[in-house]
Symmetry: C2
Subunit: 251 residues, 2 copies
């Protein structure tokens, strides 16, 4: 595998959970050699500090209330630098997403764009937040006796409409009984934790199931709240980003 | 975080899928500085080549028909080197598992032992095979329109008994309908792929669901077989270790 960024290629890569020590060797080398770096909002400053001083770093997430660049805008930046249409030289582009790029990273759109545009690209995996959090908590995610399945899911909150109450759309809601021998990891669970817990209990998860909410995982601001689904309260959980672990394996 | 291995500590760490470039910076540094390395059977020679020349490397997996060291034997080695009872100096011990140590790695037993024995330990995450395989295949594991859940599971095959036919125990078998909007990743699926596919179809997964079987992922011997559950045949899949991806997101 090439470990030095090549011109005219986009690397769709995972920056891991935040701690630069959890970057892969490959991503660290790409970061040090890429001409252009396009980081998502959750990629930390500590990770970006490894970029070459001569690199053009263009944050493409929303932060501090700045308007978010659109997905089309990200595509345009990849094209502009990796395959310039005006005759200027092609550059190496590192598109950096937090965690792993293929898990809840909306990679499908970028893969489709790069394929359609004929821009060469490679994908480089990263440590997903769940693995870093479990390592920090020293808790297994699977267990031969209590958790033979590990489920990653997300929860969306529909924007409140003038004529309706805010509505929770919980994608891990199951048809039928929720598997009792699973560890559930919720990415982007929103902020309505009590409502979320009630939905999960209604989906068949035992109310006494242990639940850990981790805010700002793998950063100095990390905040951990241990409870059960029955006792989960909105105010006890730290600020976003939050990751929730639910199951009997996470004692 | 410490990146140099310290005496008297066990690092329970993930070696990733095989390619040394997919080690984290932290694990690479621990590998270069640990006194003792205890690798599982799937940790590759390319990864172990990064160990210090002065390190004592003791493989603790089964390979080439050699008898497997028992779990108790692994515990004894950790104790012997990290917390010697005979007055000899404590060493740094890197317990290296393939992939991530907390996913299907039987970490629970080792965590319980280290805790009970009072041996300090840290856990360091790794890239799980599913992420490396998906990156190689350039396929998303989640998709906003077709896969809002990612499920990791495993399948066990009970040993055939004299008076009974070989029996498949498929842990991802669901009570109720299998979620239609999930990507299923099967670790250690065994070798009876046709039976496995039939069980999954009986669990409610559409027979036309795409299915990719990857043998020896992230190594030069990697072999990829793309099919559907309906068309999966035992003989078409490469040798172990095999990882199976099943779902509509993996087009």
């Amino acid at each position: 595998m090439t470990t030095t960024a090549q011109s005219g290629i986009v690397y769709l890569a995972g920056a891991g959970p935040g701690d630069p020590e959890l970057l892969t060797l490959r991503v660290a080398r790409l970061l040090m050699t890429a001409d252009v770096v396009l980081p998502d909002d959750l990629v930390t400053d500590e990770v970006l500090a490894l970029a070459s001083p001569s690199a053009l770093v263009i944050p493409v997430g929303k932060r501090c209330g700045q308007p978010r660049i659109t997905q089309a805008g990200i595509h345009a930046l990849m094209l502009e630098h990796a395959d310039p249409q005006d005759g200027s030289p092609a550059r190496s582009v590192l598109r950096l997403k937090s965690g792993d790029p293929l898990v809840f990273g909306r990679a499908a759109e970028e893969i489709a764009f790069l394929t359609d545009a004929g821009i060469p690209f490679e994908i480089v995996p990263g440590i997903t937040a769940a693995f870093a959090v479990a390592a920090e908590l020293k808790t297994p995610l699977t267990d031969r006796s209590s958790a033979s399945k590990l489920i990653f899911a997300t929860a969306h909150h529909a924007a409140p409409q003038p004529d309706k109450p805010a509505r929770l759309e919980l994608t891990p809601k199951w048809e039928g009984a929720f598997p009792p021998d699973a560890t559930l990891v919720l990415y982007m669970p929103g902020r309505r934790f009590r409502l979320l817990a009630d939905e999960l209990i209604a989906s068949g998860i035992d109310a006494h199931t242990p639940c850990i909410a981790v805010s700002n995982a793998s950063t100095p601001q990390q905040h951990i709240h241990r409870t059960t689904l029955a006792a989960l309260e909105d105010d006890a959980v730290g600020p976003a980003p939050v990751l929730m672990l639910i199951g009997h394996a996470i004692r």
